[in-house]
């Protein structure tokens, strides 16, 4: 009898999904400032209206049930912030946003959705997983520190927003980060193992000490945008850096082992200075109707070519290191007007005789 009771007790034991200190069901709004801690269950759409602040204390776990009313594979439950969100995780006690499902999957819930919230939103030491869009913002400001976005359909997506991200990890989502008409600063952030890494249009992107690696389509793709990047590692993507009608600088970075092109510049204007560009499959750099200069780069060990000029204009590629100073050998690393009629000439004059000493060679 005791055995039967024990079995019954075990069968009826409340599973983790049903236990929460706070629960929100259906469509609700917080009408005054609130502080969350412990375990919170969101089984609907929770709105934080303008003028209201939601603060989430260290160690809180926020779980979302799956509700997919139109069978499109995307859950709809979420928190919708028009006020202010302050997520105050710590290294020891991060805040977790996750699915309440027993077998969680990307897209189980909607998003941390911030709309027209121009006060400084803060997400610190968060783990955001199994959402449609882990972080989504329109017309908003946010500072995101030491946070992880993983196993979401889209790690982060925002439009018309100002986002500063420091110490982030955007990993193993379908799409990593995508944004439009935004000003974005990324520091010490890794965007890896997504289908698309980072992609943006009409935006200003500043990056330093970041890693963009292992993305299946493009690592970093900007269109009609500006890029100010230094000390990046862009490795093992299909395309490494792909700039379309964009402008900016790329300095002191390692562009390694991307399957297609390490750097692909299309109608762009970029100063590419002091980078290591090696081991990329089709070409180290593909240059198509672009402006700018290549200076002080290490362009060696790429697959078909170190540099391809696919445009009608010339390429100023003087003073780079090609692994040799033999002009004939350097010619074989370059495809330009000498190889294809109608293409412009690459000026690879004054090749560096000594491999530049730089931070580039420290870690490969």
């Amino acid at each position: 009898m005791r055995l039967i009771l024990l079995v019954l007790l075990l069968c009826c034991w409340p599973v983790a999904e049903s236990r929460a200190d706070t629960e929100y069901r259906g469509e609700q709004s917080l009408w005054q400032d609130a502080v969350w801690s412990g375990r919170v269950l969101v089984d609907g759409i929770l709105t934080i209206p303008s003028g209201v602040t939601l603060e989430i204390r260290p160690g809180t776990e926020v779980r979302f049930t799956r509700r997919d009313t139109n069978d499109d594979g995307i859950g709809e439950n979420e928190i919708f912030i028009q006020g202010v969100l302050r997520v105050l995780g710590t290294t020891e006690q991060p805040v977790r946003f996750t699915s309440a499902e027993a077998g969680p999957a990307p897209g189980d819930w909607g998003a941390i959705n911030i709309m027209a919230s121009e006060e400084e939103n803060l997400l610190e030491h968060c783990l955001v997983e199994y959402a449609y869009r882990g972080f989504h913002a329109h017309f908003s400001n946010a500072s995101i520190k030491n946070s992880v976005f993983t196993h979401n359909l889209r790690g982060m997506q925002f439009q018309e927003s100002t986002i500063v991200m420091d110490g982030g990890l955007v990993e193993s989502n379908f799409n990593g980060m995508q944004f439009r008409n935004s000003e974005v600063r990324l520091n010490a952030t890794r965007v890896g193992d997504n289908y698309w890494g980072i992609r943006c249009v009409y935006s200003d992107l500043t990056m330093s000490d970041c890693e963009v690696a292992g993305n299946l389509i493009n690592g970093l793709n900007l269109r009609d945008s500006s890029l100010d990047a230094k000390s990046l590692l862009v490795a093992g993507n299909r395309k490494g850096i792909y700039l379309q009608r964009s402008r900016g600088t790329l300095e002191n970075s390692r562009i390694l082992d991307n399957s297609e092109h390490g750097i692909f510049l299309e109608e762009s204007d970029v100063f590419v200075n002091g980078n290591l560009v090696a081991g990329n499959g089709r070409a180290g750099i593909r240059w198509q109707n672009s402006k700018g200069r290549l200076r002080g780069n290490l362009l060696a060990g790429n697959g078909q070519y170190a540099l391809i000029n696919d445009g009608e204009g010339g390429v100023d590629a003087r003073s780079n290191w090609w692994g040799t100073t033999d002009a004939m050998a350097i010619d074989t690393f370059i495809r330009d007007a000498e190889d294809i009629v109608g293409m412009g000439v690459v000026d690879a004059g004054n090749p560096l005789a000594v491999m530049p000493a730089s931070p580039l060679t420290i870690a490969q």
Binding site: D72, W196, G281, A300, Q304, F333
Partner: protein, 271 residues
């Protein structure tokens, strides 16, 4: 009914059937409004034919199937290159399949994807078809033109048979463990024909890969394609490989600016 009459009726019926299949045209706005529209998420089992209008991204989610009957014509509306939402994998209009895609064209009645406008200077008009972890897909006798990548296969191993892929930036990309059977296709006049990336091992049999501005067939160091009886000609680089043993019989690789390019990362003394 005697046998001759039966045969006569049979052939007349066949001719009528053929005559009823839609013929590609430049449809007006009114024409498009009359067509069946496919856009958004196609959940469940869908079998479609005739003339279809695809004004935006289409997603076939996991466990769902899209079948296209012989003779189907899909008119694709190119999207602004700037859209990021809604979108699945590409900024351009795309057909993304996480479930199953069955394109059942025939010699006489191929399935055609026709963009409603084509940008100048070889820019793609639409993204193309992406299979991402798709199961049991088959693409036969399709005509796909002016796409960024006519067929992008990510972790997917469909049968790709007897298709005509022309004027695309890339014809077929097989990546991330894809092992498709790619047989008897024609890939022509794009930037590049077939790419094997990131640990893919497709079987490439009896294809014609011709007249590409760049590579005919490219396999990266992690991929192991089987190459058999392909005609690879008129490309800038015919066959680009890291491992010469993959090249097999090179008799069909000819008339490229450079027929075989073997790569190794020591070239140029990698630092």
């Amino acid at each position: 009914m005697d046998l001759n009459l039966r045969w006569g009726v049979f052939f007349i019926s066949l001719w009528l059937f053929a005559a009823c299949a839609p013929v590609p045209r430049q449809p007006s706005v009114d024409d498009l409004a009359q067509m069946h529209t496919i856009s958004g998420v196609l959940v469940g089992q869908s079998e479609l034919g005739g003339e279809l209008y695809m004004p935006g991204d289409v997603l076939v989610p996991a466990h769902s199937t899209l079948r296209l009957r012989p003779g189907t014509i899909i008119y694709v509306l190119p999207a602004e290159g700037t859209k990021i939402d809604p979108e699945y994998l590409s900024p351009e209009t795309e057909l993304l399949v996480r479930g199953t895609l069955q394109i059942n064209g025939t010699v006489r009645h191929p399935v055609r994807f026709i963009p409603l406008s084509v940008p100048a200077e070889g820019e793609p008009a639409w993204a193309g078809i992406t299979l991402a972890n798709s199961k049991d897909s088959r693409i036969e006798h399709a005509q796909i033109e002016h796409a960024e990548t006519a067929l992008l296969l990510i972790g997917s191993s469909p049968e790709v048979r007897s298709n005509q892929l022309r004027f695309n930036r890339y014809g077929i990309i097989a990546q991330q463990g894809s092992a498709p059977l790619i047989i008897d296709n024609v890939l022509e006049k794009g930037e590049a024909g077939i790419f094997c990336w990131l640990g893919s091992h497709p079987q490439l049999v009896g294809n014609r890969v011709a007249d590409h501005f760049e590579e005919g067939v490219f396999a990266d160091a992690s991929s192991r394609p089987l190459l058999q009886g392909n005609q690879i000609s008129g490309n800038d680089l015919g066959l680009v490989l890291y491992d010469q043993t993959l090249a097999g019989d090179l008799s069909g690789v000819s008339g490229n600016r450079e027929d075989l390019r073997l790569l190794n990362f020591d070239q140029g003394r990698r630092p």
